[in-house]
């Protein structure tokens, strides 16, 4: 028993650690880890991953919210879109076959690998567009000189549309879809990059929570797997976030993007042989 439990814990700690270092979250690594190495069905892996994503999001959000990096109003408005997507995705996960899920997961990993190596712009928008102004979505961030600099927000409908897709992927595949959320806020809505990351991380809790509740009440969360995975991923993520400030982020991102592509190929191959 200790071999199984120890193996699951080690896998989860590694996934949480790599997820925090790469900025992609533990879900992208724990799901294929459980399917390929622990030989559990995709549904069990997705259910366990969703719960661990809720835990890591909550853990990382504590400091981001307290220090003012999370834009709480943007998060609340966009959560309407991600929750809608997450419920749809979690419901579909119960009816879509295992090979199709594995193939979708492989495609999502390739997309995450692409986002993790593309460059992000960080020019602050001086004024919000009328809709965002009406919703008071703008905020302030510390500038280079330490003084608070205001920023505006734009294109809420575009951002919300991408958030629905991020939600569907999260509920379907058991991931936080942080890469897509950050892209929506950073590229489309022009939020500062660090605010986008902090807000995405905060929202991930609700997106994954909505999916996890569907899985839990459907009886698709196996406590024997999900409990050690939740503890391990959270511990690993905590360790990763401690090391992150001292790490060479650019090099790490390229390394993890390569790993993601390799795992995507393995998952894709499994899916094709299962059809």
């Amino acid at each position: 028993m200790l071999t199984i439990l120890g193996g699951l814990l080690a896998l989860a700690i590694l996934a949480g650690f790599v997820g925090a270092l790469s900025g992609l979250g533990g879900g992208v690594f724990i799901v294929p880890g459980l399917v390929i190495l622990a030989h559990v069905p995709m549904q069990v892996a997705v259910g366990a991953s969703l719960i661990s994503v809720v835990a890591t999001s909550a853990g990382a959000s504590v400091a981001f919210v307290r220090d003012g990096w999370t834009n709480l109003r943007v998060a609340i408005i966009l959560e309407c879109a991600t929750v809608t997507g997450a419920l749809t995705g979690a419901y579909l996960a119960g009816v879509i076959s295992q090979p199709v899920l594995e193939m979708l997961f492989a495609l999502m990993m390739l997309q995450s690998a692409y986002y993790s190596i593309t460059k992000h712009g960080d020019e602050l928008l001086s004024q919000s567009d009328p809709l965002c102004e009406r919703l008071r979505l703008g905020g302030e961030v510390p500038g280079d000189d330490g003084r608070m600099t205001p920023y505006g927000v734009r294109n809420l409908p575009g951002g919300a549309a991408l958030m629905v897709i991020a939600g569907v992927m999260s509920g379907l595949l058991g991931i936080g879809s942080g890469a897509l959320k950050v892209a929506a806020m950073d590229h489309l809505m022009k939020l500062p990059l660090k605010v986008s990351s902090a807000t995405s991380n905060f929202m991930i809790g609700v997106t994954a929570g909505a999916g996890a509740l569907v899985f839990l009440s459907r009886g698709d969360v196996a406590a024997a797997v999900a409990a050690p995975v939740a503890i391990g991923v959270t511990g690993g993520a905590l360790l990763g976030s401690r090391i992150l400030p001292h790490a060479n982020v650019g090099y790490l991102r390229k390394l993890f993007a390569t790993i993601l592509v390799l795992i995507a190929v393995e998952m894709g191959w499994r899916a094709l042989s299962g059809i």
Partner: protein, 139 residues
């Protein structure tokens, strides 16, 4: 030339932000600590009292055999009786309640401040989370 209108929070917005930034991390941390303790107790109890059950359960999962949906009241009763598997399940439920508690808190805060756009948004998210549980039972 007029300066473009810049972001400046109104006093009520600033107060809302202050309350959210103080209470949200506190709630997140508390629920996280409680659920982690329950999960660790559940795992420790499994190791000490029912390792055989755990191994059987894990191999059954690998063969794709899930447990039937259990009634929440039954899980509570079993956990109270010291059943390790039920204790782990309770820990997972508590963990999943993190976002629910957080959204419920913001809903009450915005309602108190009569900030109706955000009352509607949080009510939508909250009902989505509750629907999640119902969907699982229906689906």
């Amino acid at each position: 030339m007029n300066q473009p209108e810049r972001y400046s929070p109104s006093p009520s917005d600033a107060e809302e932000d202050r309350i959210l930034r103080t209470w949200t991390p506190l709630m997140l941390r508390t629920v996280l600590i409680v659920s982690t303790i329950v999960l660790i107790v559940g795992i420790a109890a499994t190791v000490l009292h029912s390792p055989g059950f755990y191994i059987d359960r894990f191999h059954a999962l690998q063969r794709g055999q899930m447990h039937a949906t259990e009634q929440f009241s039954m899980i509570i009763r079993q956990a109270a009786a010291g059943d390790p598997h039920a204790i782990m399940t309770i820990g997972l439920y508590v963990l999943t309640l993190v976002p629910l508690v957080r959204v419920a808190f913001t809903f009450v805060l915005f309602l108190k401040d009569r900030d109706y756009i955000y009352v509607a948004a949080t009510a939508y998210v909250l009902s989505g989370l509750i629907l999640g549980m119902a969907l699982g039972r229906i689906g």
